[in-house]
């Protein structure tokens, strides 16, 4: 069941168009990731979902009703949808008062507030912090207080803006796990905006990719990762090999493409003559010194044009008539004795080539 829909949202900030026609719907209980580069409009979208901002045009539906334009419904939405800002702020008051704040706004009795706050602080692992001033906490603890404060009213949806942007790896893991558990136990819909593809992959059931204010692709994490719908998404998820080619033949879904005069095979249903973009993830390109006989349909020889170590990995730039990047382990690179100027063989499977129309 969908609990929220947004339809053709546009937002201007001054002369800048931050959002351009965003539409999607949020399902009950799902974890929805919004990924995109910094400045692509993720934060604005969350602010519109929580109705802290009013869109310049477009509609927001919550529980089937159009809330845009109704101050009463907007404020009702804000009472039912929680949000944690990218850099969460806490009030200059005790941890207890911070977490109790939303309950006091709703005029709960002192006893009820007490019970709920203590339970929640226990759940996020901040038991014993009640009397500490929230401003004296570390980044991870502040994030926990902000989460506890947003969740204490048991909202139907929780919007998180880069929830782990400034955290160390340990706090990051704790908080990611807490969010997922809370969502499962309470059926809370979670929306996570992040610029990190990896976090989207770890947490989200579905991902929407936003680029320059437009929602360019929605799908399962694996779809986004392996089958990006356009060049910008492909670059964003780490596809380094983006080639142009023309279909020369199609035999039952195995197409042959002409790429800079070389023949590349891919699995796709396209007609001869179609101009296509080919995406090949650099880690799907296998490197060897002699032509090995493998099941990979595509095999080329080329010259090593560049070699860059980064940590445990080596990024090998090859010229095989067209430029190709292969990502292999540093160890393999050393075992193979790779050097700039040397010849090497590359191969990749026909299934490793993802094509889209130009």
């Amino acid at each position: 069941m969908s609990i929220m829909q947004v339809i053709d949202l546009h937002q201007r900030h001054g002369s800048r168009e931050t959002l351009k026609g965003v539409s999607f719907s949020l399902e009950q209980g799902e974890v929805f990731g919004i990924i995109g580069p910094t400045g692509s409009g993720k934060t604005t979208l969350l602010r519109l979902l929580d109705q802290i901002e009013v869109p310049s045009s477009g509609r927001v539906y919550f529980e089937g009703r159009d809330v845009t334009g109704s101050p009463r419904l907007r404020s009702e939405l804000r009472r039912k949808v929680g949000m944690v800002l990218q850099k969460p702020v806490v009030f200059d008051a005790s941890v207890y008062d911070n977490v109790a704040f939303p309950l006091r706004l709703r005029r709960y009795s002192r006893k009820v507030v007490h019970g709920k706050v203590d339970t929640m602080l226990n759940a996020v692992g901040l038991d014993g912090y009640q009397r500490r001033n929230a401003r004296t906490l570390s980044g991870g603890e502040t994030q926990k207080v902000a989460l506890a404060r947003a969740l204490i009213t048991n909202p139907q949806a929780l919007l998180l803006d880069e929830p782990t942007a400034n955290l160390d790896p340990v706090s990051l893991k704790t908080i990611e796990e807490f969010i997922l558990r809370f969502s499962r136990e309470n059926g809370t819909t979670i929306v996570i905006a992040t610029h990190e593809m990896a976090q989207g992959q770890r947490l989200a059931d579905r991902i929407g990719v936003i680029m320059e204010g437009q929602l360019v692709q929605i799908g399962k994490p694996s779809e986004i990762f392996y089958a990006p719908s356009d060049i910008r998404v492909a670059r964003f998820v780490g596809v380094e090999n983006i080639l142009e080619g023309r279909v020369t033949s199609n035999r039952e879904g195995l197409v042959h493409l002409d790429v800079h005069g070389r023949a590349v095979e891919a699995i796709a249903n396209r007609h001869p003559g179609d101009e296509l973009h080919l995406f090949i993830r650099p880690e799907d390109v296998v490197l060897s010194l002699s032509e090995a006989s493998t099941s990979a349909r595509n095999s080329f020889s080329g010259q090593i044009a560049g070699l860059a170590m980064s940590g445990p990995l080596a990024r090998v730039h090859l010229d095989c008539g067209f430029p190709l990047v292969a990502l292999i382990t540093r160890q393999s690179a050393e075992d193979l004795g790779l050097q700039v100027g040397k010849q090497a063989h590359v191969s990749f499977k026909a299934t490793a080539v993802h094509v889209i129309g130009q």
Binding site: R47, D50, I52, M83, L85, D92, P102, L105, R149, T153
Partner: protein
């Protein structure tokens, strides 16, 4: 030099013996300035909260205008209130000219711009995210404004204390609308100017020391409050 020294010794004597005239003038000063501060604060805090919270066309301009009023010379405020309360003025019928009430109104008018301006800037210097957070947690406008005022409580207190300091130190308004009537509207600043000119150096010095002490306490108070942040 010895004459000056003797004057200072006699001035301190007047202070430590709680000389009637000295106590009377100082006490009147405190009451008048406290009253004008309370009056100004009652206007400035809610008004500042609303101006700071809402977005409206011309907000930037309004704040600029308020800040421009910081530097209206005291004699100009004094002249304005004098003309309003004078027999020929629109409020002349109230018969307030040359009374402590006139001084309270005049001083409140004098310090309202700076108190309002500092309140607004105290509220705007609260992290914008506090506003958004409060709203996203389900607060109404009134609840949100109150939460922001609580965040800025130290800076707002400083604005109020600073307003009091301005009121008790100024001489232009008090002189023009109070009239410096001995025993009735004479306060520290007007008395100091008057007594020095009349050659009562020891009295002027006694009052000067008290005024300086009050100004010092106010400044230290403002610093203390500001450093709590």
């Amino acid at each position: 030099m010895t004459e000056l020294w003797d004057g200072l010794v006699q001035a301190l004597h007047l202070i430590v013996t709680f000389d009637d005239e000295v106590v009377d003038i100082a006490w009147r000063s405190l009451r008048v300035s406290a009253a004008s501060t309370v009056l100004a604060a009652l206007i400035c805090i809610p008004l500042g909260g609303l101006i700071s919270f809402r977005s409206f066309r011309g907000k930037r301009l309004l704040i600029n205008v308020i800040q421009t009023f910081y530097s209206v010379p005291t004699v100009c405020v004094g002249l304005f209130v004098f003309l309003m309360l004078s027999r020929a003025g629109p409020l002349g019928g109230l018969g307030l000219l040359f009374t402590p009430s006139a001084m309270v109104v005049g001083q409140a008018l004098l310090i309202t711009p700076i108190m309002l301006g500092l309140t607004i800037s105290a509220l705007s210097s609260v992290d914008k995210n506090i506003r958004d957070t409060t709203l996203s947690l389900g607060a109404s406008e009134r609840q949100a404004i109150w939460a922001i005022i609580k965040e800025a409580r130290f800076a707002i207190s400083a604005a109020i204390v600073l307003g009091f300091g301005r009121a008790i130190s100024e001489v232009g308004v008090a002189m023009m609308v109070g009239g410096n009537i001995r025993g009735f509207t004479q306060i520290l600043t007007t008395a100091i100017a008057d007594e020095a000119n009349q050659g009562n150096v020891e009295l002027a010095l006694a009052l000067g020391v008290i005024l300086l002490a009050i100004a010092l306490v106010v400044t230290l108070g403002v610093n203390l409050v500001q450093q709590r942040r």
